[in-house]
């Protein structure tokens, strides 16, 4: 019966999502929480289903959080950012250029080409372009922006677009590439960006990433237990540690919205979503 089981949505951006949430589901049920999950092929439908009350919780990207918040407000509902991974807090993104490019400041990018991640990537598209706008560069007129659209609809959870942008930078196809800080290190370690051939031109302010979003239509008691159980998961527990390793966290922390300001600005500047949560970018087709 609806309300007897807490139903969470997650986007299947990788096969490991099944392993993670199947494992967590076993763990929740062993702890007495009736829990199911539904997998989505992209964030937009997940968010719409959350706000429509088909889901009680959604494991949301930061962009999906913003849309859920706006859609809910437009329909008189409330969503909450309840828990986050420790690794979701205080991230930064970087704009990288080749060391030999002669580009020494952001304004030197005027008239140049910039490679980004997928069109809906917060970390590799929306936030870096917002950073450029803050330096009075208009991405639509002052720059040639190349989206490397891998996994559109996954809100940048697919790393492929960032890697393609990095490759394009090394191939001389773009003058700068945007990526999350950790991926810059990863691409160096992988050799996609050979050591000492690139330089970080600019770094965004810190921002927060994914959040477990709940909605006020969900069963309050089950929702409360779901959140408390997540927060009680311990990295010292050998049963859940492999799942936490797969999901990339060491502990769940209470959710916050204070880290979403830069992305809210980026969304509004670009018109990616309307104030009511409508999808604004005509080129975006998840």
């Amino acid at each position: 019966m609806p309300g007897d089981v807490l139903v969470m949505g997650a986007v299947a951006y990788d096969a490991k999502v099944v392993t993670i949430w199947e494992g967590f589901r076993r763990w929740f049920r062993a702890a007495g929480l009736p829990f199911d999950f539904v997998l989505y092929s992209h964030y937009e439908r997940q968010v719409e289903d959350l706000v429509a009350g088909h889901l009680d919780a959604a494991w949301n990207s930061p962009l999906a959080w913003i849309r859920a918040d706006r859609l809910a407000a437009a329909r008189g509902r409330t969503v909450r950012s309840t828990v986050m991974r420790d690794t979701d807090q205080d991230l930064t993104s970087v704009i990288v250029v080749r060391t030999d490019s002669g580009i020494t400041s952001v304004t030197d990018l005027k008239g140049r080409s910039v490679g980004t991640g997928a069109i809906d990537s917060p970390q590799a598209t929306l936030l870096p372009l917002s950073l450029l706008r803050a330096s009075d560069l208009d991405p639509d007129n002052d720059l040639s922006v190349h989206h490397f659209d891998v996994g559109v609809g996954l809100h940048g959870d697919h790393i492929g677009g960032e890697r393609d942008a990095a490759r394009a930078l090394m191939a001389g196809e773009v003058d700068a590439a945007c990526m999350i800080d950790g991926n810059h290190l990863l691409f160096l370690q992988e050799g996609v960006l050979p050591s000492e051939t690139t330089r970080v031109l600019a770094q965004t302010p810190v921002f927060d990433h994914c959040t477990m979003t709940t909605v006020d239509t969900g069963p309050s008691e089950l929702t409360h237990r779901f959140i408390e159980l997540l927060l009680s998961m311990s990295y010292a527990d050998p049963e859940v540690r492999p799942l936490m390793d797969l999901e990339g966290l060491h502990e769940w922390r209470r959710g916050r919205v204070s880290g979403y300001g830069p992305l809210v600005d980026a969304v509004d500047e670009s018109g990616f979503y309307g104030r009511d949560g409508s999808i604004g970018d005509a080129g975006y087709a998840p």
């Binding site: 991230l91 950790g182 810059h184 290190l185 311990s234 990295y235 060491h250």
Partner: protein, 397 residues
């Protein structure tokens, strides 16, 4: 904000060149929540240190006076919270009941809690162990030989055709037995918990020994022709009953102590009556290996017998069970028996055949003596040892 407990200067070293190792080392000397100030001149240091700290569960902040502050997180300590040593590296460190999740970890390693739990069902030290195992393995490893060079395969004088046929028949029979002797330890090997790795090593070499024996006996059989001899249903039934024994100790008892023990006498007989040098060499080489297999079986059962007063009753039951299972089978392949007589006779004269027949009777006696001696070592009184030896299969192994 608390003052940093330590200062680390990375100089020009960046995270794309191993800087994480120095940061990690610096943090290890601090308690959880201890603070490490990191400085360096790599232009990407701040970007990469921040990302690395987040991935590792450490705190990160920019120090207003230059450099960065790293606060040691708890993740690593939590990962190793339930870790335990998988016994000790030497045989003295073997534990009686190793947990399944120690599985493939090196003995003595610090094993993270959790992980896969492979189903090694033979997981009791006293079911597999013998103090002699490490020494026997060392001996076995040192005593490996190359079939290509350990035997002089050149034919000097061709044998009379019927004598050659007898050799081929005996070799065919030996290959059949060695196949069983390879499969049985291999099956056991896959079931023994790898914590008892000396036993695995020994079983692996034992299987490799049998692999070589199959090769040399086949090669001798085909030295002058292209046909092998016969394989009887009764002979195969006898060997099959060994494959059916799931208990490690009982399988080891039936195969090594009784079967391979009897084979020592047979190989000695063939060494003595071999009509050509190649046959003599191959049986002699195999006999040395087989003696080691028998030694492990006896040593293991002696070890277990000291700990388990019920063992002898179980061994006796296994012999009786096998005897009953084989009661309606023919025992030794008649072609093999006749071939052994002919090899010991050396010719077809009535006197020679009578001599050969007596020699094979003596061989049966020698096998029986050997089995009784080994049963005696395992604690069986003389009368019971004689009774059990008599119940052993007529197929020798």
């Amino acid at each position: 904000m608390t003052a940093p407990a330590a200062l680390l200067d990375l100089a020009r070293l960046g995270f794309d060149n191993g800087a994480h190792m120095l940061v990690q080392r610096g943090l290890q000397s601090l308690p959880v929540r201890g603070r490490l100030r990191v400085r360096g001149t790599d232009p990407s240091l701040g970007v990469h240190l921040r990302a690395w700290c987040r991935a590792q569960g450490h705190g990160f902040s920019v120090d207003p006076d230059g450099g960065y502050d790293v606060v040691r997180g708890e993740a690593e300590e939590r990962r190793w919270a339930g870790a335990e040593r998988a016994g000790g590296p030497t045989p003295a460190g073997i534990v009686r009941h190793p947990p399944a999740n120690w599985g493939l970890a090196a003995r003595g390693a610090l094993v993270e809690a959790g992980g896969p739990t492979p189903g090694f069902d033979i997981a009791d030290r006293d079911v597999v162990w013998a103090d002699l195992a490490p020494r026997l393995y060392a001996h076995a490893a040192a005593a490996q030989w190359d079939p290509a060079t350990a035997v002089d395969w050149a034919i000097q004088d061709p044998l009379a055709p019927e004598i050659e046929t007898a050799v081929v028949q005996v070799m065919t029979y030996l290959v059949e037995n060695e196949k069983a002797a390879l499969v049985i330890p291999s099956r056991l090997l896959a079931r023994v918990h790898p914590h008892f790795h000396e036993v695995l090593q020994l079983l692996a070499v034992q299987a490799a020994d049998e692999a070589r024996h199959m090769e040399i006996f086949t090669r001798r059989a085909l030295l002058t022709g292209s046909d092998m001899g016969t394989s009887s249903a009764g002979g195969r039934a006898s060997l099959h009953s060994l494959l059916d024994e799931p208990d490690f100790s009982l399988a080891s008892f039936l195969l090594s102590v009784l079967g391979e023990g009897s084979f020592l006498s047979l190989l000695g007989f063939l060494d003595q009556h071999a009509p050509d040098p190649v046959t003599r060499q191959v049986t002699r080489l195999a006999r040395v290996d087989e003696a080691r297999h028998v030694a492990f079986g006896v040593a293991h059962l002696e070890h277990q017998g000291r700990l388990d007063p019920t063992l002898r009753g179980r061994l006796r039951a296994a012999v009786e069970r096998r005897h009953d299972a084989l009661a309606d089978t023919a025992g030794l392949n008649a072609d093999v028996f006749d071939s052994l007589v002919l090899l010991a006779a050396g010719s077809w004269t009535p006197e020679a055949i009578a001599r050969g027949y007596r020699a094979v009777q003596d061989l049966h006696g020698a096998m029986d003596d050997g089995r009784r001696q080994r049963l005696h070592r395992l604690g069986f009184p003389d009368d019971e040892a004689s009774e059990l030896s008599a119940l052993h299969t007529g197929n020798f192994m």
